[in-house]
Point group: C2
Chain length 234, copies 2
DNA sequence: AGAATGAATTAGACACGTCTAAAGAAAAGG
DNA sequence: CCTTTTCTTTAGACGTGTCTAATTCATTCT
């Protein structure tokens, strides 16, 4: 009933709840930017409202109901991000904060209109899957973060899991966008990775922390890719 | 700092504050659907925050700061209404509630993008003026509510000040939309007015309460109207 | 196992926005 | 002008969401 705040907590728990582990209150507190007692209080109420399984000192886990609301919110978020880029001229670095607010306030009707206008899209501007209207999420099984590849690998950018405008602007500047073809030049042991963008021949380095948020698939010249201009391999 | 609720109160006070009269707390309470003590408490805080002039038992009046925020919110509201009709396929009867929520949450950047996409519009889907980016409101001096006209008058619909979806749907059904040409058939003394829509020849009656929310201008065949199909007078 | 450490919870507070019940001020009516 | 009515305010409460300080629980280390 408290919609916006509860949705934020549910989104956070959903994100932290990789597989069926219990999520620690401290992790939620850090992710939400609040103090631990605030989390305890919220978990109690969300448990009373049936959004999470929670017993003291046992951490929290989404119920079916909680997961449903988390995914509904995530669908709103990603549809809005795409809407802002496609229809309002936003850059992918600008959409997160705006969508993070609006996701709580658009009606189901508006959600449906936006989805229809965009042609029932499946991925947002960062390459993340948009939950379907019945809240299924299709994970891209083939992708891995770019730091998992060997030097010399040729890869295609499929998703960037970083909301920081600065990082996204930097990536845009060096030519890293969805569908871009990258070559892994060097993977240094001290946490630095050097990449080259095929299109521009720009070469640049990233801390592996950032590289781990760039997801790619092995380049396959025979695959049906829209990046036709990259099909001649270096 | 409390943005959404304060904006709602400021919008209400702005609407009630016809000319420079003090607005009575009871009027605000009725309009906002809350109890009088709630209004007293809010007025105190809004006064402390500089949004209204308020002293006990004296009613409230917007300060320059309060009016600015009210008009900013009104601009958001009307831009959103137009955006929803123009871009998302909403009907004029559907936009009010959605805009009433979203108006509090769109950023200045999004406001600007929407305004640009719509070509810097001056009126919303109900014909109400959209405050400009520097928050000036151009009132249509020529318009009057349709119940002010004599029988036989030929008028053009310029604004409908009613948010009820039922009323708006009914008006759509009988052909009353912005720019429609109406003839005043009968003004009954017991509060009923009968109109005929020029385009469809549909004739219908309205309680004068509803008629008083339909604003029109005297039809002038020489005026630069887009309703060219109505130029042959009955 | 007992002690130290760290995480989680309880206790108590506060601002917001709302309520009901009661008291006080202003306006209207005789 | 005094009384009655109506409007407004005060008093006290509650749920939400947050905090700090203190306590309790769980875990880890010697």
């Amino acid at each position: 009933m408290v919609i916006p705040k509860v949705e934020d907590y549910l989104k956070t728990i959903h994100r932290l709840q990789d597989r069926d582990t219990q999520v620690a209150p401290s992790a939620i507190a850090t992710a939400m930017g609040v103090q631990p007692p605030t989390v305890t209080a919220m978990l109690k109420r969300m448990h009373d409202d049936g959004f999470v399984d929670y017993e003291r000192y046992q951490g929290a886990r989404l119920t079916t109901r909680g997961e449903k609301l988390a995914l509904e919110t995530l669908r709103h978020h990603r549809l809005l991000e795409l809407f802002l880029t496609e229809q309002l001229g936003y850059d992918w670095s600008e959409v997160h904060d705006e969508a993070d607010v609006l996701e709580h306030y658009i009606s189901e009707k508006l959600e449906a209109r936006i989805a229809a206008l965009l042609g029932f899209p499946t991925v947002d501007p960062h390459g993340a899957p948009i939950p379907t209207v019945d809240l299924k999420v299709r994970h891209d099984a083939g992708q891995q973060s770019v730091d998992q590849f060997d030097e010399g690998s040729l890869v295609v950018v499929s998703e960037v899991r970083d909301n920081s405008p600065d990082v996204l602007d930097y990536l845009t500047e060096v030519g890293v966008r969805l569908g871009a073809l990258l070559k892994v030049i060097e993977v240094a042991p001290f946490g630095m990775i050097t990449l080259k963008v095929r299109e521009t021949d720009d070469q640049f380095s990233l801390p592996s922390e950032t590289a781990s948020s760039i997801f790619v698939t092995q380049f396959d010249a025979t695959s049906t890719s829209e990046s036709g201009q990259f099909s001649e391999v270096h």
